[in-house]
Amino acid sequence: MRLFAAAAVVCGLLLPSSVVCAESDLSSTRVQLPNDFTPPQVFKNLNLLRNTNLEKGYVRETVDVVVENVDDKPQREYYLPFPADVFGKIGGLEVRDKKSPEKGRFDAEAIETDSSNDINYYVVQFPDALAPSSQITLRISYSVLSSLSPLPATIHQSEQQYLAYTFSAYALSAYPVDNQKTKLKLPSVNVPDYTTTTGLKSGQDPERQGSVYTYGPYETAKVAPGTQYPVTVRYEFTKPVLTAHLLERDIEVSHWGGNLATEERYWLRNNGSQLEKQFSRLEWTVSTYQGFPTSALRELTFPLKPGSVDPYFTDDIGNVSTSRFRPGKVPNRDGSLELRPRFPIFGGWNYSFRIGWNNDLSLFLRKAIGSSGTYILKVPFIEGPKNPEGIQYEKVVVRVILPEGARNVQWETINGATSNGLPSLSQIHSELNDHKTFMDTLGRTALTLTIENLSDEARSSELLISYDYTLWDGLRKPVTITAGLFTVFVALWFVGSLDVSIKKR
């Protein structure tokens, strides 16, 4: 099934417009704006509904907003403001037309402004300009990383952990908003503190319904855009707040071996509350035995693609013996790799490790239809662990190592009707370089994609790479090695047959 989908996308991929050429440098397209920039007031937000989801270790926000063009000319640039301290933590920003999500995402670019500015913007380009006084409903979704702070910052080993989240009751917008509402989804009903607003609306604010807290609706047509009303909730979250400050992911394609090797290197950290006193093994043994929830990371589960084999789990000082692998079945049952780190990872503790596995290449690589030497590779952009508390990546470096001699490398992420957790392509920095290994002569072509601020939402995203690879490229290595060995033998024979003896002749 997957292959058909791949083939379908391949056809789309071959259209020139959707292809990103890896050679071009994309990072220079950012727009520089003056310091005191304010967006032109050409839009009005009629209705704004913000869903903030705090069930994981990071913030996931979805904003549905009805936008009307109040200018007399068609407009296509919509500005999305963020406070400067949050701006650098925004990940996976995606803007779509809510009415027709299948049209794909709109392009959103970060705008560089002076660092002293306390509001920074993303600018969203509508594919079709919005005619005067017509409306469009945008669905803006993004995640905010590292913005949950443990409160209290230090707890005892077996105590519950609480996180605090501070945000503005008025959603930040560059344009006037007529109506707005914020829904807060919390992971538990144990919410010891939350801010009750006064004077923003009549009646109780927020309204509670289980673990859902609703701030608003507010009538904010008169409120100037950019007004903030800070609100804090503090809720129980006795789970690790997992952060990988770096994930390096190598995908190596070997045509000869028919193998797709994946290796991932994690630098993990638990951003939860730190231990008030030191770690006590005794208490930990007891609480493990009784199965209490804990803010420490006990175990990670990595779902692997069907057919994954030979997994390994090591760290800087060797193999970690506490892992379990349940292989999947090739059609559609995922394998699962369960890792137990060497020690439980409490708040403030680090753990770095690497895992890797192999796959059969034929499940991921196809030859493009109607071309002689063009191949299409479709692999998950990131995989990573799957757990209820989620995981956030501050920086992800995906390196796809193609066979030696691969040329004309182009890449694309699959952009379906639903969010794939990745930001738009302009936020991904790509680079092509050579990677020499295993007796290469030219070096393999390596495509390096760097992306900041990802969350485990991006697990579902997939990466498509097309490249040209001829038969000669495949033969190059055996021919080189043969030639090399032959040269050595000839040289040896030649030296051996020379009479260098200094005996009497």
């Binding site: 006193k277 013996s321 295993f438 007796m439």
Partner: protein, 743 residues
């Protein structure tokens, strides 16, 4: 493998080429067997560096690979021996690291991505394969029978005495040193036989390499002069001896002085004086021999007498002067301990505390060498029968190394090669006599022993015709075969059971028979590496210094390079004293964490409480007034940890850290120390100046954090008492504030 080679053998029975080819194939098989029998630990566990010293070598190698050769040469390591640091580049034998560094760079040049760790792990097995080849060459020089060399190669390849130091992962100097030892001897024999400058130079080069690789080079430095000396005494002076020895000495000494750690030792240290003396003596003898050519016997004697008198007068005077003025260093302590096994125990506990410096137990000989040990005298006897120059060498080597092997466990390693040579000579002699005397069958003889395959033997044994009766031939050779087979199985058993444990990772059996890996060391070290500041100083007993440096990457106070006895004694004192005494020591040395090894929960016997007496002894050596070994024994002279333990013992920091909180693990019951089989006191020890920071899963490693000075300027015991009392009242109200023992 066996059947095709036999085919070739049968077809080309008369062909010399086939035999040569067969020999090469057999040698390759032997090398392969030698390598593969050392891979048990990699297969059973993983590719990991073993034990203690290899971790340092590994770390040094990584440094070399990262920073290049010159930086390595000038490496001052401030992450060990805090706060002193260590001039690492000048105090190590760089041969091992440079070897693997070169291999690494060659592989990199061929763009083969090999992890430096894997090179280090596999270096020892790789070199053991080379050792087997070198052994073949060496033994071939000794015997006219080609089977002797092959047998020796097999023995060397799989004898446990050598495997013990060269399994995969035991990345230690001995890994390459034994190869160099054997090969240097081979070149030396070759040089003596040929009297050629080239062989002498090569011997010197490999001797230089050996010096750069292992402190045991002194063995060569003394053995070769002794050989020459004995030859002179036997009246066997020839120009060949002169050429080979002088070339070897002049070049070898210069080569050895290139190593910073050795430096001027070859002309200063008494250990090297015998070589110099023989060098001088040889000049005289050569000159005398030269002069003899010109004068008739009578006058020559007179001349000789005059010459000898003058020269000896000068030499004696010079030696006395130099020794008095202190230019020539007296014999080193380790050297004395070679002659008097009790010496170290009395004078240098630090040397005696190393387990591999203990005298060898008798069963160890059989354990490590199996039937070679009783073939060994027979082989030496055979050497006596021929007694050419090279046989003299084997005899001397045998005598010296047997003595040394008896003194120190570690030197079993130098005994092994000569045992292999002698035993191979003996076995090949027996086989040559009792099997068909034609060459190919001998060549095939060693082959099946390597492959543990008996079917090949039967076929070669069938066409027996000779002067002896069929029965005795069959009987003797069958017996030999059985012994060889037993030897092979013994070696395999010993290797897999005794010598293949990394000792960093422990293995245990689950009730269902599956293997369970106990990985506490790495758990704790990795915790240190990940969750402490990069400059946190770790104090532990010196055994773990290299491991902490290698795995946890944190500065340590003392490590396995025991160059500073006082510093070690300081650590010993801190461990064995009361907290009030230890705390200032810890503060003075900026210690952030203290690491102890505790096996009481799991029954792991190599823990710190069992090593504790050494700490006490070493500390007592420096501070006899403050630390007394006697205080740690009960009145009846027992070393106990339970209720009857002496107060000194129970108040020592080590005891407290080991058993802290151990009681509560047993709920209400009485805690049991499984190593010492002791029931611990009902009330566990209280710690005031350090706090538990991490304890590994099976409690093997316990890490304590040294507390800062108290905020309110109280001493720690009262601060803890205050906190305790406060909490107790508020939270549980069960007992009153617990009274702390303050002593």
């Amino acid at each position: 493998m066996a059947s095709p080679s036999l085919d070739v053998l049968l077809k080309g029975n008369s062909s010399r080429n086939v035999r040569g080819l067969l020999r090469i194939i057999i040698l390759c098989t032997i090398a392969a067997a030698a390598v593969s029998s050392r891979l048990f630990s990699v297969i059973r566990f993983e590719s990991i560096i073993h034990e203690f010293d290899p971790w340092f070598n590994f770390r040094a190698t990584k440094y070399l690979v990262q920073h290049g050769f010159y930086k390595f040469w000038d490496w001052f390591d401030d992450r060990t021996w805090h706060p002193l640091g260590r001039v690492t580049g000048g105090t190590l034998y760089p041969g091992l690291m440079v070897t693997s560094g070169v291999i690494y760079h060659v592989l990199r040049f061929l763009t083969i991505p090999v992890d430096i760790r894997n090179i280090c792990v596999l270096l020892a097995p790789g070199f053991s394969g080379l050792t087997a080849l070198a052994m073949y060459l060496l033994t071939n020089e000794m015997s006219s029978s080609p089977s002797a060399g092959l047998l020796a190669a097999v023995f060397m390849g799989i004898t446990p005495g050598y495997i013990s130091r060269s399994v995969a992962g035991s990345y230690d100097n001995e890994a390459i040193a034994i190869f160099l030892l054997v090969f240097t001897f081979y070149l030396w024999i070759k040089a003596v036989k040929n009297g050629s400058i080239m062989w002498g130079t090569l011997a010197a080069l490999f001797y230089g390499y050996m010096v750069s690789a292992w402190g045991g080079y002194v063995f060569i430095t003394n053995l070769i002069p002794l050989h020459v000396f004995v030859l002179l005494c036997m009246g066997r002076y020839t120009s060949r001896v002169y050429i080979s020895y002088t070339t070897w000495y002049a070049l070898g000494t210069l080569a050895s002085m290139q190593i910073p750690f050795v430096g001027f030792l070859p002309i200063r240290n008494s250990d090297h004086m015998s070589a110099l003396g023989v060098f001088g003596l040889l000049q005289l003898v050569a000159f005398a021999d030269f002069v003899r050519g010109f004068v008739p016997g009578k006058q020559f004697q007179k001349l000789l007498t005059a010459m000898i008198l003058i020269v000896f007068g000068f030499a004696l005077l010079g030696l006395v002067l130099l020794t008095v003025s202190g230019v020539i260093a007296p014999w080193s302590g380790r050297f004395y301990s070679l002659w008097d096994t009790g010496y170290a125990k009395v004078h240098i506990p630090i040397i005696a505390s190393v387990s591999e410096h203990q005298p060898t137990a008798w069963p160890a000989f059989f354990f490590d060498l199996n039937f070679l040990i009783w073939l060994f005298p027979a082989g030496v006897y055979l050497c006596f029968r021929q007694l050419k120059d090279e046989h003299v060498f084997v005899v001397i080597y045998a005598v010296l190394s047997s003595y040394f092997a008896g003194v120190m466990v570690r030197l079993m390693l130098t005994l092994t090669p000569v045992v292999c040579v002698a035993a191979a000579l003996a076995v090949s002699h027996i086989l040559d006599t009792y099997l068909v005397a034609s060459k190919p069958s001998e060549a095939s003889e060693t082959k099946p022993t390597a492959d543990n395959n008996q079917s090949g033997l039967r076929s070669t044994r069938n066409p027996v015709v000779g002067v002896y009766s069929y029965l005795s031939k069959f009987f003797i050779s069958a017996m030999m075969i059985v012994y060889l087979l037993l030897f092979v199985s013994h070696c395999t058993w010993v290797t897999s059971n005794a010598y293949s444990s990394p000792s960093v990772v422990l293995a245990s059996r689950m009730p269902d028979g599956s293997q369970h890996i106990i990985d506490d060391y790495r758990e704790a070290y990795y915790w240190l590496r990940q969750n402490t500041p990069a400059n946190a100083k770790i104090m532990s007993w010196w055994d773990y210094g290299y491991q902490i440096g290698g795995m946890a990457d944190r500065p340590t106070l003392v490590d396995n390079n025991t160059w500073n006895n006082t510093h070690i004694a300081t650590v010993g004192k801190a461990m064995s004293s009361r907290e009030e005494v230890s705390y200032p020591i810890l503060r003075q040395h900026d210690v952030d964490y203290v690491l102890v090894v505790f096996g009481g929960l799991l029954g792991y016997s190599g823990d710190d409480i069992n090593k504790f007496l050494w700490m006490v002894r070493i500390a007592e050596g420096i501070w006899p007034d403050e630390v007394k070994e006697r205080d740690y024994f009960t009145a009846r002279g027992e070393y106990r940890v339970d209720d009857e333990a002496t107060p000194t013992m129970r108040n020592s920091l080590m005891y407290k850290m080991s058993y802290y909180n151990f009681n509560s693990l047993f709920g209400g019951g009485q805690a049991v120390d499984r190593v010492r089989g002791a029931r611990l006191p009902a009330e566990g020890p209280q710690l005031t100046t350090v706090e538990e920071a991490f304890t590994s899963e099976n409690w093997i490693i316990r890490i304590y954090k040294v507390k800062d000075l108290d905020n309110f300027g109280r001493d720690h015991s009262s601060a803890v008492a205050f906190d305790k009392g406060h909490k107790k009242k508020r939270a549980t109200k069960k007992k009153g504030p617990r009274v702390l023992r303050t002593e």
